[in-house]
Amino acid sequence: MADHRIIVAAALDGAGWHPAAWREPSSQPDRLYSPDYWLDRVREAEEGGLDFVTFEDNFALQSSDRRGPDTATDEVRGRLDARLIASRVAPVTDHIGLIPVVNTTLTEPFHVSKAIATLDFTSSGRAGVQARVASRAEEYSHIGRHDAPTVDSSSSGPAELSVTEVGAKFEQAAEEVDAIRRLWDSWEDDAEIRDVATDRFIDADKLHTIDFEASTFSIRGPSITPRSPQGQPVVAALAHAGTPYRFAARATDLVFVTPTADNAAEILSAVRTAEAEVRREGDELKVIADLVVLLDASDSNGTEVGGADPNSTGPDESAAVRLERLDSLGRPLAEATEARIVVGSASEVADVVEELAAAGYDGVRLRPGVLTDDLPLIANQLAPELRDRGLTRSTYPQDASLRELVGLPAAPPSRYAGETGQNSPAPASAL
């Protein structure tokens, strides 16, 4: 038995994380932009009792080339805005946390703040955001007007941002998340009073300008959206190296990392070092390992379901054979992902999860190789296996917020609570 409960989440993107996932019999490539496709996936994850799902997003079109657009026509292209997918499923799901990826570099912090606060209202306290730093040159050329970073001439491709510039963008990202969080705090919890006797809808002393001065921008506030059920929705980030670890340590609650089979301890310690370097205060970062998973269609005892013809396609094919077959169709999974690939039975994958938990990780985020095959297997086989091992809770606690699901203190008070008369004068507008 493990000595602590862990977070289990799923990362949703297109037809799955294998570039050929959309070609599987179960896949629905013509429905990837339909609301029911996303609702079905989120409900599957919810049936498995997962803590949250994330929704990928990017201002650049998907590409097999990190440095810029590609010419591929055999992989999924096109995505919907992740904030809106999360909003679309929010009122028709009940327990699971919803964490859209948001490009915080190129989206105004005021917009990010109110979108996620609103998701928190429509989901009754299940909202989070995965802050993503725009790292591809196309993202800047799509938006224009912005301080598009120059291109690193020493890099091998035409459109990759230099390390220095990405570093600056991470510095800025920490400030952007800080601004977003301050806007979430800019209304105290009980600001709305509806006091008929004094003709006051709000207690104006409980609204606060944030007057946030970052190195390259300033934001006055307060937010237009009142304080949401969680007060502070959950903030996450994906990080692969020291600079992003420090960004996460400064700004987020959760960090997704990509340990291999050999360096799990090393990466965890690098994250802890980053936390010390930035003198993080309060709760430690929840460190969550990303794993791409393909599961055998077998029961929890590892017995093959429905025979084991290694050449058959379909639900009774072993995960290893399935991966090999999918890899033969085009770009192999190993070239398409930076995360560790785990292939096997529910019990074998649970072993990997348990090892990570024993190494000190707070949880795992599973990237299903094929959403329509591996997500149901995660929900129906892996999740019960993890529960049986005592790694996860047996049911959702009643009315739990996402903060509670991931073990963060519920409803933190606004940082501005109790401050009055701190508001800045209104900037003058023309008549």
């Binding site: 009122p91 912090p109 709305e192 709000i202 006055r220 959206t225 209104a426 008549l431």
Partner: protein
């Protein structure tokens, strides 16, 4: 039964908030932020076969001097996330949201509205507004940099660019053929390039073509520039003209401009924002309406409205008994922030004084009660249904954006009592006939790649 010889009335539901017309003190007034409020209004409107649910946007908490407004409703949810959530709990009704083009780039606007259109099965619409004030700009990294006289140039180029992005994916771009392994037709889908005065952008758009191709464009301009902009670019105009004569003149003028810009008369629908008060008898309805105005103009509301007009602190005056005997401040920056002010302050003050003098020296509050915030359609359900129908059949408008002073339950009685009468009159559908907002509104589907004439050449 719908009558083929009658114009079909377009109906939209508007959730009130952040102005004095919504009575948060009223019994039955619900939350202005909880999702249940928005769900209730949208589902009620869908029950009444409304064309669309309309949500405005807030980008700054209004201020009056150095104080936040506290007497009106303060605070709103974010427009598009609410509409995406409403899409989950409705099936037919259109979802139109106001989004400011000044504080969003075309790429963001295009992806968000195309996403909403996918997520609602073709029910999305964008009410394009522009803003240029430093007060709102202070909430944004880029600030309020836009010159006032540039706002329609920017709005026009924004809408044109957004349409280019929506058109960047052909209808048949996604092949998704598992056997051959072809997902997209070719590697150029989504390619776009726009080099204009306001925007210089290029790349590949990330959202495949949405069910409507181009979500519906709504606009609300009344100046000559605004009218031309709408006539050339919009599908629908959210109009401020509620008086029948003024509305009919506006309707005629817009349709003339629509033809001038190379479109067909009727291609652009016009819907004024209106309020209603219903009761079992005419007298009772009038009484109820007068009471709503009494409730609307609380002393604080009167003061803030007055200070918005005078552009100065009026706390030294008794607004119950007098019209402040001072002139408006035309020199200083805005005293009331976060609210637009279009008209001439001197003229407005002169009109208030004139009305007061003509009515035995009424105080400002009573002048407001007598002259402002009147509901447009007051009477029994039969009277209101007839008045609404006449308004549309006589070409004063093509329909209405219906609001009510009580949120969210105010729309219930309209849907229960007026809607059936409009259906009986043959002016409102018994059921949705189309699947998209465009088809329900009866407006053309623009061809991919078609362009509108540039007003600002």
């Amino acid at each position: 039964m719908t009558d083929p010889n009658k114009k079909q009335i377009i109906l939209a539901a508007y959730v009130g908030g952040v102005n004095e017309h919504t009575l948060w003190e009223a019994p039955g007034a619900g939350s202005q932020i909880e999702f249940d409020t928005f769900r209730h209004v949208a589902q009620t409107a869908e029950r009444g076969k409304f064309d669309y649910f309309f949500l405005a946007e807030g980008l700054a908490v209004r201020q009056h001097g150095d104080d936040f407004f506290d007497h009106d409703i303060v605070g709103r949810p974010d427009t598009l996330p609410v509409l995406a959530s409403i899409a989950a709990v409705t099936e037919h009704i259109g979802l139109v949201g106001t989004i400011n083009s000044t504080f969003n780039e075309p790429f963001e606007l295009a992806r968000e509205f195309a996403s909403l259109d996918h997520l609602s099965g073709g029910r999305a619409g964008w009410n394009v507004v522009t803003s240029f004030d430093a007060f709102t700009g202070a909430n944004f990294r880029k600030g309020g940099y836009l010159d006032r006289d540039q706002r329609y140039q920017r709005a026009e180029e924004t809408v044109r660019t957004v349409k280019e992005l929506w058109d960047s994916w052909p209808e048949d771009a996604i092949v998704a053929d598992k056997a051959s392994g072809t997902f997209i037709r070719d590697a150029s889908v989504g390619a776009f390039e726009h080099h204009g005065q306001q925007f210089d952008i290029s790349g590949r758009f990330t959202v495949p073509r949405s069910p409507q191709g181009r979500p519906v464009i709504v606009q609300a301009g009344v100046s000559p520039d605004g009218r031309n902009f709408a006539a050339a670019n919009a599908d629908l105009i959210f109009s401020p003209f509620r008086d029948r004569e003024a509305a009919a003149a506006f309707h005629a003028d817009i349709n003339k401009r629509v033809v001038k810009w190379g479109r067909q008369r009727g291609d652009v629908k016009i819907v004024p924002s209106v309020n209603f008060v219903l009761a079992d008898s005419t007298a009772e309805a009038r009484e109820k309406e007068a009471e709503i105005r009494q409730q609307t103009f609380t002393p604080k509301t009167v003061r803030v409205l007055a200070e918005q007009i005078w552009n100065r602190d009026l706390s030294d005056f008794d607004l119950e008994s007098e019209i402040p005997p001072v002139e408006p401040d035309l020199e200083s920056g805005r005293f009331v922030n976060g609210r637009t002010y279009h008209t001439d302050r001197n003229t407005d003050v002169a009109q208030l004084r004139e009305y007061s003098q003509a009515h035995g020296g009424l105080g400002l509050r009573d002048v407001f009660i007598a002259t402002r915030g009147r509901s447009d359609f007051v009477g029994t359900p039969a009277e209101v249904a007839q008045a609404l129908d006449d308004f549309v059949q006589e070409d004063a408008s093509d329909g209405f954006v219906v609001g009510n002073s009580v949120v969210p339950s105010g729309l219930d009685e309209f849907v229960d009592s007026v809607v059936p009468l409009l259906q009986e009159r043959g002016s409102l559908r018994e059921d949705y006939d189309g699947t998209t907002l465009r088809s329900n509104l009866g407006i053309p589907v623009p061809e991919r790649g078609s362009t509108t004439p540039a007003i600002y050449a």
